[in-house]
Symmetry: C2
Subunit: 173 residues, 2 copies
DNA sequence: CGAACCGATTGCAAGATGAAAGCAGTTGTG
DNA sequence: CACAACTGCTTTCATCTTGCAATCGGTTCG
């Protein structure tokens, strides 16, 4: 694991040393909920428009920290598949409660917060089911998970709800 | 509320725009679990050694964002009392699950993670009780909350456990 | 053989961070 | 009533981080 500062041994402090920047959790969110597994997908399909050097730096750091793994894509000798490692998969509850907080207190858009709402309402059972799905997509068979040969039922439901809201609120897009 | 970037309307993204730096959540943690309510307390009793200019900037930003409030201390015309506002109080579940994650995956120290452990084991009922306590200390009567005239039972339990571990692991300190 | 695509890297400017010192005013002490 | 300690900050300056734009060498596809 790459060096973090270790200003103190407090769990909150250490978590902020690992995740306390503007991009790391957003990248993990895209891998987790958008199943973005390649550099280009993360770069160009990012809602927030991350810069390529920042993305490269974040991915390298997350790999060094053991939150993400990187392997070759057999379909393309230059492509790399990025996958969530177990510690990142266990961030599901963190993202769920953080999303729930953001939805209550920040100026979110309806389409981008429907998944946070469902994840909050689904509670612990849904989080566990989602984490099991993620283990299949990212740990068990990363290649099939990356190319869509296997899918997550929980993620499919979330995505379906997202598409439905998007179709309703922005029929043209 | 002060301007945040608003790169997107995603709850996770917005939460990271508000809390995604190395210090904001640490400051909130100290106010919440350490009941640090004055600038000097936050500055000198910080485990991580925050710099005074950074602390000043963070407090100003958190006040502007509506997470923290600032008022005069009647006991000292120059003193300011900083209190958690409702949105920050509702970060209790976030800090609880984030602490639980940090405790599992990062090199925490035993004494500084006992509170995270208790908070995780206490679950939702304990979080609710703690949030009620915080409302009394920070919203209902900030002055009495700041000077110790009223205390939080939940916090007292957490602090007691912390002191016990500290006495066991570092008898001299 | 050229265009599009692959995961990055480089240069540069702007902004954030952090250590240290300092500030003007207030309070407690001898 | 002088004075030291303490109050919440602010300033300065050197260093580190961030983000944009352009680009890189290689691969794949038509």
């Amino acid at each position: 694991m790459q060096d973090i500062e270790r200003r103190s041994g407090c769990p909150i402090n250490l978590a902020m040393e690992v995740l306390g920047d503007r991009w790391s959790l957003v990248v993990i969110r895209d891998m987790m909920f958008g199943n973005r597994r390649h550099f280009r997908e993360l770069l160009t399909r990012s809602e927030e428009g991350i810069a390529s050097n920042i993305l490269a730096a974040r991915l390298k750091r997350l790999v060094a920290l053991g939150l993400v793994t990187k392997r070759e894509d057999p379909s393309h000798s230059q492509k790399a598949i990025y996958s969530l490692a177990e510690p990142a998969i266990q961030l599901v509850p963190v993202l769920a409660v953080l999303g729930a907080w953001g939805r209550r207190h920040l100026p979110v858009s309806e389409e981008l917060s429907i998944r946070a709402q469902l994840l909050e309402e689904g509670g612990e059972p849904m989080w566990s089911a989602f984490m099991d799905d993620l283990r299949r997509l990212h740990l068990e068979d990363p290649v099939a998970g990356a190319n869509g040969a296997i899918v997550s039922p929980v993620l499919a439901d979330l995505t379906k709800a997202y598409e439905a809201v998007r179709a309703r609120t922005a029929p043209a897009g």
